[in-house]
């Protein structure tokens, strides 16, 4: 043991250094986003702990899948085969529609490419920061995941990649208060922006004209404006449309169509024709705004 009296000032000194450093980190990360590139290495640093924490659950799922009875497996297989048949039948129609759509677009001289590259990823159901809405997924930069990559599940848009590690990434969900996504109403192509509210099942649509033709139950799909999300994926359903007489904007809220908190598998999309900043105006002319 060192004598007590020698420790006083050094504690305070260390504390001040550490506090200064923390505040610096806090400001650098929150205000200036200086860690966007080094997050890759920082996240890789802690990913072993994340894999260890995730392992027991993965193991128990693997065991319970191994212990299925023959009967249950058979039933599931049958169900999946049925589903597959239906999906394949739908797809037949889809191919035809796609060709038709392509021809029509050629006639209109406005082409749109659909990106097909995608990857299944599993959610690591670890606890995340209680103040933000994010998920950890088990794919990272080594699988080609990039910052801002769109993430969907079978129901609709889930969010976008906000931090990339080498083997894990974080997905910022559309309900997070800092997330916004450009959408259009499927019924009549009105464009809007959907903002997260910070609650799990509520989204806000600010700046919608109070005389806009919106109804409760309208489906909002991604518009492709902004270039981050590919166009056409369902995002949310309008749950409330209210306006005060004389007010400029209506009070519109929506609920996400994807079950954000209980999906185990997600799909990462590769948006091949991401627009660069200079192309954005071009995009406005050629895409959905004029499309109607």
């Amino acid at each position: 043991m060192k004598p007590i009296f020698l420790r006083g000032p050094s504690f305070l000194l260390r504390l001040s250094i550490v506090i200064a450093f923390s505040v610096l980190l806090f400001l650098a990360d929150s205000q200036f986003n200086l860690f966007a590139s080094s997050r890759l290495y920082l996240n890789s640093l802690v990913s072993p702990i994340q894999y260890v924490a995730d392992a027991p659950q993965k193991l128990s799922i693997a065991i319970s899948e191994n212990l299925l009875t023959r009967q249950a497996l058979k039933e599931r297989n049958q169900q999946l085969e049925k589903d597959n048949l239906f999906l394949k039948a739908d797809r037949l129609l889809l191919t035809q529609l796609q060709n038709e759509n392509k021809q029509l677009r050629e006639l209109l001289n406005s082409q749109r490419n659909f990106s097909y590259k995608r990857m299944i990823t599993e959610v690591m159901s670890l606890r995340s920061d209680p103040f933000t809405h994010q998920l950890l997924i088990d794919k990272g930069a080594s699988d080609g995941v990039y910052l801002g990559q769109p993430v969907i599940n079978e129901q609709g848009v889930v969010g976008q990649v906000s931090q990339v590690g080498s083997t894990t990434s974080r997905v910022l969900l559309i309900v997070d208060a800092s997330h916004g996504i450009p959408v259009r109403v499927q019924r009549n192509d009105i464009v809007a922006i959907v903002h997260g509210s910070g609650a799990w099942n509520k989204l806000n649509l600010p700046f919608v004209q109070s005389n806009a033709d919106l109804k409760e139950g309208d489906l909002l799909v991604t518009s492709g404006l902004g270039g981050r999300f590919p166009a056409g994926y369902p995002v949310a359903k309008i749950s409330r449309f209210n306006y005060q007489k004389g007010a400029l904007y209506a009070d519109v809220t929506a609920t996400p169509v994807a079950l954000l908190d209980r999906s185990r598998y997600l799909l990462l999309l590769w948006n091949d024709h991401q627009f660069t900043e200079s192309e954005l105006s071009l995009d406005l002319e050629s895409e959905d705004v004029i499309a109607k």
């Binding site: 450093f21 806090f26 702990i49 606890r127």
Partner: protein, 160 residues
Amino acid sequence: MSLLNSYRVIYCTFLLGLTGAIYPLPIFLNAFRPDWMVLIIFYWVLALPHRISVMHGFVLGLLLDLLLGSTLGMHALLFSLLAYFVSIGYQRIRYFTLVQTTLLVGFLILITKLSLYWLASSLQEIVLHKHYFWSIFTSMLIWPWFFFFMRYLRQRFKVS
């Protein structure tokens, strides 16, 4: 026992604590998850203030920030402050009864949670649910057992 061995035991508990802080729990239990890192830092600073103090708090907070994906520096700042306050008062706290320490733990966790909320709400709008504070009570319930377990560990492995 040797210094290396002491640190090995201490760092093992740190790793376990970090794992416990992110370990997946069912949604209804998630709010009741004890704040393992606060408990562990509190215990080790109280027991060995000349080994574990501000720097350790900072590094552990930074690791937790990375693990949770929160803004860097949030937990780092609070954990280093926590370590500081415990390390200047450890002589008094050691003479506390178990009930008093438990109350102190609850108080420290409350302060930590409030400051975390304050820091996070300075960045963006936050909806605060009241179950955000439930973990204070589970942490206080766990503390006595945790304390005896850690003391057993410390004596068993002669950590000093």
